[in-house]
């Protein structure tokens, strides 16, 4: 049974501080949605509200047809995987996994059988009789995952589950979580501050900022077509350049930046360009050229990235970050032009400056 999760204009306060403001989110049955944002953006608060550890000051939370808003946490039927694993130190691995089944009144034999089946799925049958303290971090998180999955919950939630693992293990667990969640078809909410993690594991990602969701979209859309400046900066568009169109010729426009420099942009490559707009560009979206049609710049500090050189550039619109090719790098202080590369740039509404 897979169900949807819907949050409908949920708000929350800590004392007088408003930590969540009219947050609405729909997670389709079987879908994995990430809440992505820096610490203090309200993502963990959202998770705790859904779990029932916190009470919203207004709004409703529904899991399928059930209204969770007034249901105590232990009746919500949600499996949670915590950052600290949160295994029961006084119980063996197999009893950790069987804990939720026991609360549901299942007999010892059936409980044991299901717990062992689940442990088999996470590859830990040999560790069933051990205590959590005898397990490595990765193994503990597998047990935590098994414990949350074995009750076949209506919703799975992950609270920064990979932050305590080392880099290599993090990648393996990422795949494992996704595999098990897919196989079970369980609806899931995944909280993380790690953009790569969120993008790689999710069907859709909700970028959060200051208690609000800035944009919910597929990772591809977020990456290539961010909806506003905050999301654009968050996904790596370092440069924001305000421009005004001075003339149009079919698909080609000529835009002017502050200071009067002009450059030509093609709507076939950049998409529709309004009369006033912000060009958001990654550092690799501004190519450093000796001359041509671009933003005039004086090169400053140069750093070596391996795949390219990166320059801090003085331009009429302020400092911009641009990448230059590896062959014949230009020295600091050289005059150059920065040419926007369409696939690494996007066009934003003008208020996004």
């Amino acid at each position: 049974m897979t169900v949807s999760l819907s949050l409908n204009s949920v708000s929350a306060h800590y004392g007088n501080a408003r930590v969540l403001e009219n947050l609405s989110l729909e997670v389709a049955p079987g879908e994995l949605v990430s809440l992505l944002g820096s610490s203090g953006c309200g993502k963990t608060t959202t998770l705790r509200l859904v779990a029932g550890f916190l009470k919203p000051s207004s709004g409703t939370i529904k899991l399928g047809e059930r209204d969770l808003s007034h249901l105590p946490a232990h009746q919500r039927d949600i499996g949670i995987v915590f950052q600290s694993y949160a295994l029961f130190p006084h119980l063996k691995v197999v009893d950790n996994v069987g804990f939720g089944l026991r609360q549901r009144g299942m007999g010892a034999a059936e409980r044991q059988r299901r717990a062992m089946t689940m442990l088999e799925r996470v590859g830990l049958t040999d560790f069933a009789e051990r205590y959590p303290s005898a397990l490595s971090g990765g193994q503990r998180q597998r047990v935590a995952l098994a414990r949350a999955l074995v009750i076949d919950p209506g919703l799975l939630m992950f609270d920064e589950p990979l932050s305590n693992l080392d880099a290599k293990l993090r990648l393996d667990m990422r795949v494992e979580i996704r595999r098990l969640q897919r196989a079970n078809g369980t609806t899931a909410l995944f909280v993380t501050h790690d953009q790569e993690e969120a993008f790689s594991i999710s069907d859709r990602v909700a970028v959060m900022n200051a208690g609000r969701i800035e944009q919910v979209d597929t990772p591809e859309t977020l990456y290539t077509r961010p909806g506003n400046a905050f999301v654009a900066r968050f996904v790596g568009y370092e440069n924001m350049i305000f421009m005004r169109v001075v003339s149009r010729d079919g698909a080609n426009v000529v835009a002017e930046i502050e200071g009067g420099a002009r450059l030509g942009l093609s709507q076939e490559l950049f998409g529709a360009i309004p009369d006033a707009f912000v060009l958001a560009a990654r550092s690799e979206g501004l190519a450093v050229a000796v001359d041509g049609d671009g933003i005039p710049a004086t090169l400053g500090l140069r750093t070596y990235l391996g795949r390219a050189y990166q320059y801090r550039c003085e331009t009429p619109v302020g400092e911009l970050v641009a990448n230059g090719q590896l062959v014949a790098p230009l020295p600091p202080g050289a005059k150059a032009v920065l040419v926007p590369m369409p696939e690494q740039c996007c066009i934003l509404a003008p208020e996004a400056r």
């Binding site: 919500r76 949600i78 949670i80 949160a86």
Partner: protein, 260 residues
């Protein structure tokens, strides 16, 4: 590893300093004289027998034991929930609140005893035993709150959240998940509080009345009248009880948990 002779001498000195009084007490209790003396002259166990023959020692021993067990029990009954709340809601609660629970150690015991007498025995006209029970519970409350609190501070409350999310109601979770994981703290608190209660003179002195007393008070009263080694024998017995308790702790939990 090289050992410094000065260090060895110093260590030996500390050991002597710690152990000597105990040796003297045990030695004196075995002396076949009618007054306290060390080294003992002669060898007898009659003073130990005498402890159990003097009615007052028997009854006060029982009273002290009852106060120790039930007073500590009462303080844990209040102290564990208090320690839990102080740790779980640390951010929401005002900072001074946890200090309130340490006050009984900070306030001079004489003052505590006097104010308890004024309020419990005189003000509320409580029976002596009840007043002493409450007095001892308050006296040892800081140990209950602090030692259990130290265990709870090391406890990851996500574990409790995990249990609740898996369908265990909050109160049941406290008993089946939280309590087993702070067990050593609770036992350590009980032992420290029990020893404090058994040793207490000041607070008990104010709260005792006709017909009821505690062992330490009885020892003082006895020494006022007699100077025979019975007092040393009682002390040696108290030591024995402590050693037995500690041996029990060591066998089951290991002594190191007391220092954690």
């Amino acid at each position: 590893m090289r050992t410094n002779p000065l260090l060895i001498a110093f260590t030996a000195l500390v050991m002597v300093f710690l152990v000597a009084p105990l040796v003297i007490v045990i030695g004196s209790s075995l002396s076949d004289t009618s007054f306290l003396t060390f080294p003992p002259r002669g060898l007898t166990l009659k003073w130990f027998a005498n402890v159990f023959e003097v009615d007052a020692f028997r009854t006060t021993m029982l009273t002290s034991f009852e106060l120790g067990v039930f007073g500590t029990g009462l303080s844990l009954l209040v102290g564990i929930p208090a320690a839990y709340a102080l740790n779980r809601f640390r951010i929401e609660l005002p900072k001074w609140l946890s200090s309130v629970f340490v006050l009984p150690v900070l306030v001079p015991e004489i003052v505590l005893g006097f104010s308890l007498m004024k309020s419990l025995t005189i003000g509320l006209s409580m029976p002596y035993f009840t007043a002493m029970l409450i007095g001892h519970a308050i006296l040892v409350l800081p140990y209950a709150v602090r030692v259990v609190g130290a265990s709870l501070a090391a406890f990851d409350f996500s574990i409790e959240d995990a249990a609740i999310s898996l369908g265990s109601p909050p109160l049941k979770t406290f008993f089946t998940v939280v309590l087993p994981n702070i067990r050593s703290g609770v036992i350590a608190a009980f032992i420290l509080a029990f020893i404090t209660s058994i040793n207490d003179v000041s607070v008990s002195l104010f709260l005792t009345g006709p017909g009821i007393s505690t062992l330490p008070i009885q020892i003082l009263a006895y020494m006022d009248q007699f100077f025979d080694p019975t007092v040393a024998a009682v002390s040696a017995l108290l030591m024995l009880v402590t050693v037995v308790v500690m041996a029990g702790v060591e066998a089951t939990l290991g002594l190191t948990f007391l220092t954690k």
